[in-house]
């Protein structure tokens, strides 16, 4: 079977960009990037998600570059996937049998033993189970970049997802009538299916009393405990992975906080769902469907953005010359998106701070080596993705246009490599084609600014000489992270951007 080496690991892909060569020596933060991710590779042109067949290595095992680490099942075959790095397998995010979208982190590799703990922490398990349930886990580190922060009208709610499959029970033993009794000798005797279920539902078997013969824990005991319906006996209600567990009875808010690694919750979380309590689908009115993984990732990023103090600067820009240029170059395959990205890139080259990002810990600024302009694209299924035009300032407009059409084509069929949608340093969201006058974009985590481009339309205005005239104009609204830049920095960038758009000939060089 083919062995593929498709992981793209490394700093460029880390969702929260970590500083590399920090240009300002006074910044004393050092965040290591020694913990690498293993991403779910795209093994075929049609593959959107992959199932982990088996891990050939266990956490703690040494891995050398080129060594097979995991067997992944695609829609076509099972393939051994090799590591791109030397190191130690720190933790596994997606367990055997689990599914992850292409580009999601499925494990973390630590470069040295010292970083092992960090790798484990990255997997988000707070010391409990070394392998947390995939559904809850995958979103933590990996999906962040996939969801664009752009507020394009993502009809997220209309995306359809199949209802989660109920855990298929191979006919567990009928619930015995006997009241559960804990064994006097303290041993935990659980049936194979009960053990499996306990691992899936994160139920601590030691805390359960078994209702089977001689205090044996059966599958139904585990299910009962997981449903919070376990009577007395101090059975710990277990946190079920929200996506896979349709709960019968909602736990009252605030009761028995499950040991989950919930992100520090912002106080005004939308929907005001009590943290930790899984959404009870049956509680809600109308048609409720659980998030797809992409929707979940978007939601997560949006909440993340609430931690960022944002401000906005808006400019009205005349587009007459840009329209003319666009019309002229259209036969040569140049698109408006490429022109805007090139303009933004050119402006960014002059305003380093707008291309920078605040470090995840909020203690420093990362100045990016590359100017990678991400442009939000809505997916046919309502999702959002931000293909990246790399080095937009230094790539010529024709090449940029070709790259763009290729990226868009592949993004619609979900064939982008992680590096092609999560390496953006600045984002553009364009709703001009929908006729939006002006709108407000939400910052994508890991970037410092996002530009919302409105529609260009003939407007009655006054020209330089004060004469009333009709010019084609659009409103561009820049959302910025105030931790790293001031209003002046943003305004200066917008001035440059405006100047380029209004005199766009330089874009063709």
């Amino acid at each position: 079977m083919d062995s593929l080496r498709l992981h793209s690991c490394g700093p460029a892909l880390l969702p929260f960009r970590v500083p590399r060569a920090v240009p300002r020596p006074r910044t004393s933060i050092t965040v290591t990037n020694a913990v690498k991710e293993i991403f779910m590779p795209a093994l075929s042109s049609t593959m959107t998600e992959g199932k982990i067949v088996s891990w050939l290595k266990s956490p703690g095992d040494k891995i050398s570059k080129g060594e097979s680490v995991v067997v992944v099942e695609s829609d076509k075959a099972d393939m051994d996937v090799e590591s791109f790095n030397d190191g130690i397998l720190g933790s596994i995010v997606t367990e055997e049998g689990g599914t992850a979208n292409v580009g999601e982190a499925i494990a973390f590799i630590a470069e040295t033993e010292a970083e092992l703990e960090e790798a484990k922490a990255k997997a988000g398990s707070n010391g409990a189970a070394p392998a947390p349930a995939p559904a809850a886990q995958a979103a933590v580190p990996a999906e962040a970049p996939q969801a664009a922060a752009a507020p394009a009208p993502a009809p997220a709610a209309t995306a359809t997802a199949p209802p989660p499959p109920a855990p298929s029970a191979p006919a567990p033993a009928a619930p015995p009538a006997a009241a559960p009794v804990k064994r006097s000798d303290g041993r935990v005797i659980a049936t194979p299916y009960a053990k499996k279920l306990a691992q899936q539902l994160k139920v601590d078997l030691a805390s359960l009393a078994g209702s089977g013969p001689a205090g044996r824990i059966t599958a139904s005991d585990v299910e009962a405990a997981s449903n919070g319906a376990a009577g007395g006996n101090g059975a710990a209600p277990a946190a079920a992975p929200a996506a896979s567990q349709v709960q019968q009875a909602a736990k009252p808010a605030g009761s028995a906080q499950p040991p989950q690694r919930a992100p520090p919750a912002p106080t005004a979380a939308p929907g005001s769902v009590p943290e930790g309590a899984p959404t009870t689908v049956s509680e809600l009115k109308g048609r409720t469907e659980p998030f797809t993984s992409m929707q979940a990732a978007i939601a997560k990023n949006m909440i993340q953005s609430l931690k960022v103090p944002e401000f906005r600067v808006s400019y009205t820009i005349t587009t007459g010359k840009l329209d003319a240029l666009s019309k002229k170059l259209k036969p040569k395959g140049v698109t408006m998106t490429a022109l805007l990205a090139k303009a933004a890139g050119t402006a960014l080259a002059k305003h380093e701070v707008v291309n920078a990002a605040c470090t995840p810990d909020g203690q420093g600024i990362t100045y990016n080596d590359h100017i990678n302009v991400a442009v939000a694209v809505s997916m046919p299924d309502g999702g959002l993705i931000t293909p990246v035009l790399k080095d937009a300032h230094s790539t010529d407009i024709y090449q940029l246009s070709r790259s763009w059409s290729d990226l868009v084509k592949r993004s619609r069929v979900k064939q982008l490599k992680p590096d092609e949608y999560n390496s953006g340093t600045f984002t553009i969201s364009n709703l001009g084609m929908f006729g939006a006058d002006t709108f407000d974009a939400i910052l994508q985590p890991g970037t410092g600014a996002i530009l919302a481009v409105g529609g260009s339309k003939p407007t009655v205005t006054a020209d330089d000489q004060g004469r009333i005239c009709v010019l084609k104009q659009m409103t561009c609204n820049l959302t910025c992270d105030h931790r790293i830049m001031s209003g002046v920095a943003a305004a200066e960038f917008m001035q440059t951007f405006k100047a380029i758009i209004e005199d766009p000939d330089q874009l063709t060089f």
Binding site: K76, D78, E96, S168, P170, A173, T191, P192, Y193, A214
Partner: protein, 585 residues
């Protein structure tokens, strides 16, 4: 009887000549000298050999007459039979059929059930259980059915007793068929447990019965007594909560949780049955990995398909050193687990039942091997050479006594026994034959099935290393996901792999896990037994779309180094095409 002994004495002088030949000269290596050698050694038994020839010649035209003639000639030799077969399992049956085909007068002795283990307590009834439980599994697999557009309303229910009855009825009907097939050919079926009385003489009888039994003589004797389940020491079988496959096949009850000691074929098949019917299973395996003996990659896939998704857990590297039977519904079975290396008790299980599937032991006790100067080995197997001739304690051939099947332990499978029986009959008739055990296929009838023939990848690498062709060993693989028919069935889970030599195209082994793997293996095993190469098979056509294309894919994806020889002239089959110009080279 006197006659028999005299003949025996008469033959002793020639014994060395007879016995040294077959196992010291490999027929394949000494192609030229062989006929001469055989002829001279056959001097003693030539009358019968000639008789077999003449019978074969006249058989087609006068079948009844030939049998009469045969009996007359046999009587002249003073033996009751040409061949006495002890044991009527699949091996004895296959041997008897072939012996009749070769014109021999045959008696078969059976002390228990005609059909032996396979038909009564093995492969056959277990297939009935697997068929029924497999359906239950299919019908309960709502996700799979849904993907085919099928919905089963309500619960899938089954009646344990009816499934058990199906297995029993199947066994008795096959048993009847087997007995009738031999009777119809004129084979004498004698009831009784046999005891060797001498090189040409067998006593038989049933304990406590004076009306059954006697003594018969034969030119050749074939031991085909088979095997019984092997139970390690420390495990008391009560037949109720602690049992072997013999009892499990009766399926008197369905334990909710059963420990299976041993994860070979038998254990694996039973786990398939039990989990399909809702029981939970714990494997206890002494080896470091489950399914020892399987190709590693196949075992990995089997683990993924047959173990992980099911209600099965396991303990490896442990022996079940002590088992205390329980009482169904009252007291659990307690199984003490001892680490295979440290010999420390590491754990104990409390389960509802315990199936001991730790392999099989030869059934050779009371056979009286000492009467012919032979003795079973430490484990009870009857030592034989490649020609299935029994060896005595000094490793010398015991003339006219053969042993086939589980009793010799060479390859403990029903069809292997049958093949050995046929091979032994060939040798008796003066046509030296050695069964190539590497071309004997094997299968586990799980869902999906697992099958193989020849070397595992690991064994092939070892053989290649030893044989000095390590750089010529190649492995090709294909997934059932690439097969249209498998996809149509939504059964794309599966893998087939083939080990072969890049230089000669020789097939060294084929392993399959996937839908109908047990049926698919025969293209490979037949190719191996007839020494067909990968190049030969490349031109075979497979119906599309069928699962057989899985093998086709293996063959097509194999790459044999181009031969040095010139391209052969194309054969023109159609005379009308003769005038056509040959294709440019």
């Amino acid at each position: 009887m006197l006659n028999a002994q005299r003949t025996q004495l008469g033959q002793l002088s020639a014994q060395s000549a007879w016995c040294t030949l077959p196992h010291q000269t490999c027929p394949r290596k000494t192609q030229q000298s062989r006929p001469q050698a055989w002829r001279s050694s056959l001097g003693l038994i030539q009358p019968r050999w000639q008789q077999a020839q003449c019978v074969l010649l006249t058989k087609a035209s006068r079948p009844a007459a030939h049998r009469r003639e045969l009996r007359l000639q046999t009587a002249a030799h003073s033996y009751d039979y040409d061949l006495i077969i002890i044991g009527c399992g699949v091996g004895g049956h296959g041997a008897a059929l072939h012996a009749v085909e070769c014109g021999l007068k045959v008696a078969v002795l059976e002390g228990h059930d005609v059909g032996g283990t396979c038909v009564n307590r093995g492969c056959v009834p277990s297939k009935a259980l697997l068929a029924a439980s497999g359906r239950v599994r299919d019908m309960k697999n709502a996700m799979h059915l849904k993907s085919l557009g099928i919905k089963v309303a309500g619960n899938v229910e089954f009646d344990r007793q009816s499934i058990a009855d199906h297995a029993n009825q199947l066994a008795s009907s096959i048993k009847g068929n087997l007995a009738r097939s031999l009777e119809a050919l004129g084979v004498d079926m004698l009831v009784g447990a046999a005891k060797l009385a001498g090189p040409h003489s067998v006593k038989y009888g049933l304990p406590g019965r004076v009306d059954v039994g006697g003594e018969i003589t034969g030119q050749d004797i074939m031991i085909a007594t088979g095997s019984v389940p092997f139970v390690p020491p420390g495990i008391p079988i009560d037949g109720k909560t602690v049992f072997t496959s013999d009892h499990a096949l009766k399926m008197d009850w369905l334990p909710k949780w059963i420990a299976i000691i041993g994860s070979g074929y038998i254990g694996l098949e039973f786990s398939d049955v039990y989990t399909a019917l809702g029981s939970e299973v714990t494997f206890v395996e002494a080896m470091p990995d489950l399914m020892p003996g399987f190709d590693k990659e196949i075992a990995r896939m089997a683990q993924r398909l047959l173990i992980n998704p099911r209600s099965i857990d396991w303990h490896t590297n442990v022996f079940a050193t002590k088992v205390i039977p329980g009482e169904p519904g009252v007291k659990p079975v307690i199984i003490e687990l001892t680490d295979a290396k440290t010999k420390q008790v590491v754990d104990s299980l409390e389960v509802d039942a315990c199936l001991v599937a730790t392999g099989r032991a030869p059934y050779t006790q009371g056979l009286g091997l000492s009467a012919i100067g032979a003795a079973p080995d430490r484990r009870g197997f009857v030592p034989v050479n490649d020609y299935m001739q029994v060896l005595d304690e000094k490793n010398k051939v015991v003339p006219h006594v053969y042993c086939i099947g589980d009793a010799n332990g060479k390859f403990m499978l029903a069809h292997a026994a049958s093949a050995q029986g046929i091979s032994a009959v060939e040798n008796m008739c003066g046509r030296p034959h050695v069964l190539d055990h590497l071309s004997v296929p094997a299968a586990a009838f799980t869902h999906p099935e697992v099958s193989f023939v020849g070397h595992t990848e690991e064994a092939a690498r070892e053989a290649a290393q030893k044989g000095g062709f390590a750089d010529k060993l190649a492995v090709t693989k294909t997934s059932f996901k690439a097969n249209s028919k498998a996809l149509a069935e939504k059964e794309g889970e599966g893998l087939a792999k083939m080990m072969y030599r890049k230089d000669t195209g020789e097939i060294l082994g084929v392993h399959i896990i996937g839908l109908h793997a047990a049926d698919l293996i025969h293209e490979a095993s037949n190719a191996m037994s007839t020494k067909q190469t990968v190049q030969d098979l490349k031109f075979s056509v497979h119906t599309h779309p069928t699962l057989s294309e899985v093998l086709d894919e293996l063959i097509k994806t194999s790459h044999v180094d181009p031969p040095a020889q010139k391209r052969p002239e194309p054969k023109v089959l159609d005379p009308k095409l003769k005038d056509l110009q040959p294709l440019p080279a």
